[in-house]
Amino acid sequence: MGGIIESVFQVVTGIILVYFFLINSLYLLFIILSIFGIYQYKNLSAFVNFKEVFQMPLVKPISIIAPAYNEEMGIIESVKSLLALEYPFYEVIVVNDGSTDHTLEKLKKTFGLKKSKRVFRKTIETKPIKGIYISPSDPKLVVVDKVNGKKADAMNAGLNVSRYPLFCGIDSDSILEKNALLKMARPFLEDPEKTVGAGGIVRLSNGCKVKFGQIVEVGLPRNALARFQILEYLRAFLGGRIGLSMLKSILIISGAFGLFRKDIALQCGGYRTATIGEDMDLVVRIRKYLHESKIPFVFRFIPDPICWTEAPETLKGLANQRNRWHRGLIESLLHSKKMIFNPRYGITGLFAMPFYVIFEMLGPLIEVAGYVIFSVYVLLGQFNQTFAVLFFLLAVVLGILLSLLAILLEEYSARRYPRLMDIIIIVAFGLLENIVYRQYLAVIRAMAFLDIAKGKKEWGETKKKGFSWESQKQ
């Protein structure tokens, strides 16, 4: 009996080891690809004048859709910064998703909103719209007031009201750089037939000085959780996403800033309200649709930091966010499960989907299983403890290696952290990460499976801090 249990354990350990080896090799591969990707992008855009878009005859106008729910703290600042972007033609649609605070009142007061009799085609069903407002002083702004229906529903309402062929989904606390639209729209200009969507690097705005909706000074946040997250984002975006885009396997374009073609999105039925990870879900479904219709397409990724977002600084906020992300991941992948290992869906089916399912989705489960088994072994004293400790250290060191490579990528590409001390702190946190933070996140994400089984649908609260009104200090 004991022998069978032991051999089962050994097999499981073996699987975990192999899994672990594979995932790290893949990440390493992505980072190496990312180095090439960044090199390519830097050289190709070195002497490109992005502003020549202003002189072109046919520019694709963009509708920026910003859903807002209880954002009274930072909504005015963020809308003002959206209205000051550099792009010849665009509109900003703020969708007030049934806020219970003074978001709408603040908007009405600041921009002198008046009721508009705007008529639109209801291409996608959404929760009822209570009213549409326009601002006489800012003709680019449109505010849609509707009954609460979560982010996907708000985005769909925005899609219905929007008038332009490209739309940009944005979080209402995202800060965009001034030339963000210029850079993101460029792939659509260079390759208008095939480009279907574009995403960029998202960085954390915690600890950065913001003035008039622009990042004026980049700095490290003081909050420890935020510091952990900085490294995470660096690894995920610089290391992971660029590499994936080189392999044509982008499945997620962050909801914080993504540019898509409206016609394709509408053909796929817009955002799916039943899911909580609507940004990933949209990309996956677009890929599915285009593969099925045999239309060649490409998703582009811009390795330029053009979007900054606020990360949660409380444990509860972080837990909610990660839980939500993982539930969204699971839902989106399961919804389109027929793509997995299906050659009909090209590289999406043969590589991207399986990668996400095996390594991103099941990753936390296997990681947690690994910890459990490790602790069992330790308790039973049945295992070569030296080996186990060494193995654990190996995992930690590999993790640190990946983090260092990600930081190197950041140094090579954008170098936004001006002080050397910042880098050293980030590295230190990279070391600390492996002690509690990583395990904590793995547990949270593994619990997401339980929540899905329970049928949890909520969004969870994240407290927003809002931005510092630097100008008020003057």
Binding site: Y39, Q40, N43, L44, A46, F47, V48, N49, K51, Q55, M56, P57, L58, K114, S116, K117, R118, V119, R121, I134, P136, S137, P139, L189, E190, D191, P192, E193, K194, N384, T386, F387, L390, F391, L393, L394, V397, L398, I400, L401, L404, L405, I407, L408, E411, R415, L420, I423, I424, V427
Partner: protein, 352 residues
């Protein structure tokens, strides 16, 4: 077990050493780059002040002086030149181009013929910005390169006002794939009226639908009014795309003689053509179109109603009065809503 233990230990030691080395490299690199950066900035500011003087009061020989002085700092010089040439146009750019020619052109030309695509492309971008008519042979050579490079070179060609260059551009357009067609369009648009004869010629050729559509669109946006008759001749083309473009181009050209053609197109079987025709009729601002526009308000298609509404608004008083009538009628709620919206927008745009 022992062997795996040894492997693990060795790999651990290796990885650890590698990580430490990487960390040290990171720090070192940062320090070095920061120093390089300060030097770069210093040089940049020096060159910048001289260039600013040059732009402000161009003197003979000043450009050459600058080029000679800073020839040994190609990176900084390139960056300064690029930053400044982006902002200005006209005579002042000639001086900047002179500096480029003297100090940086050699290297650039070498890079253009380099083996690696990325290096070539980067150099081509730079070359194109600073090129002059004397560089035509180089640009022509680049045209035989990969499509990415080719497009950039064609952009450069468009700055050279010779008919040979123009015919080349059009030939390349004809032979190239459709996906690059838009880039050609942007280039051709920049050339303006000079391309009229070429567009005329190409409209008569048997081009593919997409390319023909783009030619028509080009004629419309520039606009090349003398080609209006040729455009009108496409009104019965079987392809809906072409008819849409015809309607659109006629709208841009604003020739009152095209009124009948547009009225015909507004009744087209494809609603997209009708919608576009409504928009163009609105641009003509011709009161005779009022009847057709008002009929368009009752179309079952949103876009047709939308364009018809705005078209009526463009007609001025008679149009606005008619919109008010449509708003009040009860038979078609969609039409009345649309009229309501258009009137509202006109009101607000007047205020803004």
């Amino acid at each position: 077990m022992n062997i795996s233990l040894i492997i693990v230990t060795y790999s651990l030691v290796f990885l650890l050493a590698f990580s430490v080395a990487l960390f040290l490299y990171l720090i070192l690199r940062r320090v070095v780059i920061q120093q390089q950066e300060t030097l770069f900035q210093e040089k940049y500011q020096k060159i910048e002040s001289e260039i600013l003087k040059l732009i402000a009061s161009p003197q003979q020989g000043l450009a050459l002086e600058i080029a000679q002085k800073y020839k040994s700092f190609p990176n900084v010089l390139t960056k300064v030149l690029f930053d400044y040439i982006e902002q200005i146009k006209g005579q002042a750019t000639d001086h900047l181009k002179k500096i480029f020619d003297y100090a940086l052109k050699e290297k650039c030309l070498k890079d253009i013929y380099s083996r690696r695509l990325i290096k070539r492309l980067k150099a081509t971008h730079l070359f194109v910005i600073f090129s002059g008519p004397s560089d035509t042979p180089h640009i022509l050579k680049l045209l035989n390169d990969k499509p990415v490079v080719k497009l950039v070179a064609i952009n450069a060609l468009s700055q050279i006002p010779s008919s040979r260059a123009l015919s080349y551009i059009f030939q390349a357009f004809e032979n190239d794939s459709v996906s690059n067609a838009r880039t050609y369009m942007n280039i051709m648009y920049g050339l303006g009226d000079k391309i009229e004869t070429h567009v005329n010629e190409y409209l008569k050729k048997p081009l593919s639908t997409e390319k023909l559509a783009l030619m028509i669109e080009l004629a419309g946006t520039i606009p090349l009014r003398s080609l209006s008759q040729d455009i009108i001749s496409f009104v019965d083309h079987p392809e809906k795309e072409i008819r849409i473009k015809v309607a659109r181009a006629l709208g841009h050209m604003r020739i009152s003689a095209s009124l009948d053609t547009l009225i015909r197109l507004s009744d087209d079987e494809a609603w997209e053509v009708g919608a576009q025709a409504m928009k163009s009729l609105g641009k003509l601002e011709d009161v005779r179109a009022k009847k057709v526009l008002s009929k368009g308000m009752f179309s079952p298609f949103w876009h047709v109603r939308f364009n018809a509404g705005h078209g009526l608004a463009n007609l001025g008083e008679p149009g606005l009065k008619h919109l008010q009538k449509v708003k009040k009628q009860k038979k078609d709620a969609y039409a009345s809503d649309m009229a309501n919206m258009v009137l509202d927008e006109v009101f607000y745009s007047g205020e803004a």
